[in-house]
């Protein structure tokens, strides 16, 4: 048998006494192989990758690169050895050109610190071709779509002559088409002998793309085996350590009166005459492809972004000037799609985040904060949602796992006692176990009479959890399905239906 390209042996790592990696063994068997790595948030995937990428030192264990010991002392070290990490949050400078991004350290043809743009651009063009991009390398990053940016990251790895490329959740912000393109590029690279480690929560992708899968749980590798011996459900039970009977809990509810009604929302080219209504106690899905205008609709309803025309009615009453302040006061909550930027105060504590949206309810005389009830309420919500935190007054949001972060956002809104809850991609970047809990909480809220608008690009979860699903395409609502008619085909057909006349939107 050949020497493996990379092998990690008995790797250990602790942070302030907590063991996050326990005797981890992992092997990339041959050049060009793709290893899938799955596990819940906080299982240790990122730590492992950061050790591999020279960002963190290991406590003990060995790493062998093609049989030789590999001890990176910094990220630059790892770069030079040919190991490239592509993080979930891309590492690109939007104000610079594509070529400049590709050759951030070490531009070709540069002498004495002077750049040769001609050499740089011509080499960049070659690298771009390998990832299937046909764009002038001198053009700026900022105009490019997320899909293209992801490919530029891959190109960056190629420009550095990477032998091993590690992908961390590369598809979370890609459209279906962009994803397919990325996968075909990954396969091509694999054929040219570049090995890859592919980390993802999307288990179907892992099964489709990888030769082998390693499952990691609580810092230990549970197994590494060929995908042919793996199924989605075995992976899930290995990940969570128990069997999940059902991925999507659906609950029968009693829809009540209409609480929210939107009429004729228009906003430039993004929203075209949108009308819909929500009843208390129902979970309504909102599906659509990237750029269909789902998040824009939510932002417009919540009053974050202005609309050109249209009316919102809350419990039959016209809302004259919708704003986050008004909505929170009257009972709407809104989970945005990006919890790091708009959901949480990352450097602040769990408690501070939990009470953020309901601070006005903790007001005592002289505007003072009622710290006792603040303590009590945040403690009760932590218990209710089973948020894992060692100390709510000391642990900051950024040190929580993705699932727990999202639970904190949910908890923040629970404290405002909402009657309408708009959730935009609430399970993005959240592991299977936490996803299940989030669905249950949404069901629970609906059963208590809350109307929920569930925006998602994962068809499975919408089909599994919603009472009905509206589909948006190109800034308009292209159709609606009731539970009996839920199929992925039907959803996709509506999602790609192009609407040329705005009248069609009102069916």
């Amino acid at each position: 048998m050949d020497t493996p390209v990379l092998s990690l042996q008995q790797l250990n790592k602790s942070f302030s006494g907590v063991r996050v990696l326990k005797d981890v063994n992992l092997t990339l068997r041959r050049r060009g192989s793709i290893l899938g790595l799955v596990g819940e948030n906080g299982a240790g995937k990122s730590t492992m990758m950061n050790i591999l990428g020279g960002v963190l030192p290991r406590d003990s264990g060995e790493m062998l690169l093609e049989g030789r010991p590999y001890n990176p002392r910094s990220a630059v070290d790892a770069d030079r050895t040919g190991i490239a990490l592509i993080h979930q949050e891309l590492n690109l400078f939007l104000n610079m050109s594509i070529a400049e991004n590709l050759y951030l350290n070490g531009a070709p043809g540069s002498t004495l610190g002077l750049l040769s743009y001609r050499a740089m651009n011509s080499q960049a063009a070659g690298v771009l071709q390998r990832v299937g991009i046909d764009i002038n390398p001198a053009s700026l990053m900022e105009g490019l779509s997320m899909g293209l940016r992801q490919l530029i990251e891959v190109a960056k790895a190629l420009a550095k002559q990477a032998r091993i490329v590690v992908f961390d959740e590369p598809t979370t912000s890609l459209s279906d088409k962009e994803k397919r393109h990325l996968f075909s590029i990954i396969r091509e690279l694999s054929a040219t002998g570049i090995s890859m480690i592919y980390i993802s929560h999307t288990l179907d992708d892992v099964l489709a793309l990888c030769e082998e899968v390693a499952v990691i749980r609580d810092g230990s590798v549970m197994c590494q085996s060929p995908v042919s011996e793996m199924t989605k459900s075995t992976m899930i039970s290995l990940m969570v350590g128990r069997k999940l009977e059902q991925l999507f809990p659906f609950a029968e509810k009693q829809p009540a009166d209409t609480v929210l009604e939107v009429k004729g929302f228009r906003q430039g080219k993004t929203l075209k005459d949108i009308s819909f209504s929500l009843r208390g106690g129902e979970i309504v899905g909102l599906f659509g492809l990237m750029g269909a205008g789902r998040s824009e609709l939510a932002r417009a309803v919540y009053g974050v972004d202005p609309v050109d025309s249209g009316e919102v009615f809350f419990k039959g009453r016209l809302v004259r000037r919708p704003s986050p302040e008004w909505w929170i006061e009257n009972g709407m909550a809104y989970i945005t799609e990006n919890r790091r930027e708009e959901g949480l105060l990352m450097p602040k504590t769990v408690k501070e985040n939990l009470v953020l949206a309901s601070l006005r309810h903790f007001r005592k005389a002289f505007g003072a904060v009622d710290r006792r009830s603040e303590e009590r309420e945040s403690a009760s919500v932590i218990e209710q949602l089973a948020i894992k935190t060692f100390d709510k007054s000391r642990q900051t949001a950024q040190t929580l796992s993705g699932g727990n972060q999202q639970k904190v956002v949910i908890g923040k809104w629970l404290l405002t006692r909402p009657q309408v809850f708009i959730v935009d991609e609430p399970t993005r970047g959240v592991d299977v176990g936490a996803k299940f809990e989030i669905y249950n909480h949404l069901n629970e809220m609906a059963r208590e009479g809350c109307a929920i608008l569930f925006i998602s690009s994962e068809m499975e979860e919408l089909i599994g959890v919603c009472d009905r699903i509206m589909v948006m395409s190109n800034g308009a609502i292209s159709g609606e399905l009731t539970r009996a008619a839920f199929t992925q085909e039907a959803l996709l057909t509506l999602a790609i239906r192009s609407i040329t006349h705005e009248h069609f939107a009102t069916d």
């Binding site: 949480l344 949206a357 006005r360 904060v369």
Partner: protein, 303 residues
Amino acid sequence: MLFFVVFFLFSLLFVDKFANPVNLLNIVVECADLIILSCGMTFVFMNGGIDFSVTATLGLGSVLGAKVMTMGGSPLVLTVLGVVVMLAIGVGLGALNGVAITRLRMPSFIATMATQLIFSGFALWYTQSATIGGLPAPFLSIGRGTLFGVQMPVFITVIVVAITAFVLHRTVLGRYIFAVGTNHRTSRISGIPVKRTIFTLFLFSGGLAAISGIIMTSRSAAGMPALGKSMLMDIVAAVVIGGTAVTGGKGSILGTVTGAILIVVLNNSLNLLGIQWYVINALKGAMIVLVALLGVLRTAGER
């Protein structure tokens, strides 16, 4: 904090004349000015901003207040009138900064640099750079008088510190300030009035500049256009040394108070030791570097 205590004891023991009651009193009064101004600056810093116009606000308030008080009439009425005018000017100019920053979306760095030039320019033009003396007696006692045997400025400072600390650390507004300083977008989605909160920060900054302007005008017994002008860098230094993050969202009034006292003691004792002012400045710079380093180390240690 520890550094501060050590330094203070060191000064008491070894610096000649430092322990002299007159000098100590001097320190206390100087501290009052710096503490009040730095508390105002702390508010603006909380949103990652800065207010360069505080000293100019103070100067303009000083001359206009003095002008009002020399109009003639009952001394007590004039004093009240003068204090009200100075406070109103402080809060008003703060509001002007607030509007420029929240409505016109100017960065505070630029906006307050501009208003600093405008305010101090106006004060100089108005007085033709002359001082306005002949202030009523009750007004003079604000800066020089005592109450229950305690210097009036000390009294005022304690009240200011108590109120600002309460607002920042115990009230809903304070929570808003910390939230907005940490992340505008999350705050907005969470229903926090972001612009109104930022606006309030400048009201505090302007208002506190006015209060310290009242004390300083009273002590110098004249309205002066350039009053407090040399203090700007010390104010910023006090806030930074006090541990308030320049990027916003982090800081405390207690830290700022410590920073301010430290700077005054440093100025004073090194001065008495006969050390040149440029050496003192270099030492202050070194101290800021030290604090910044400690901050870096602390954040590195968190991971």
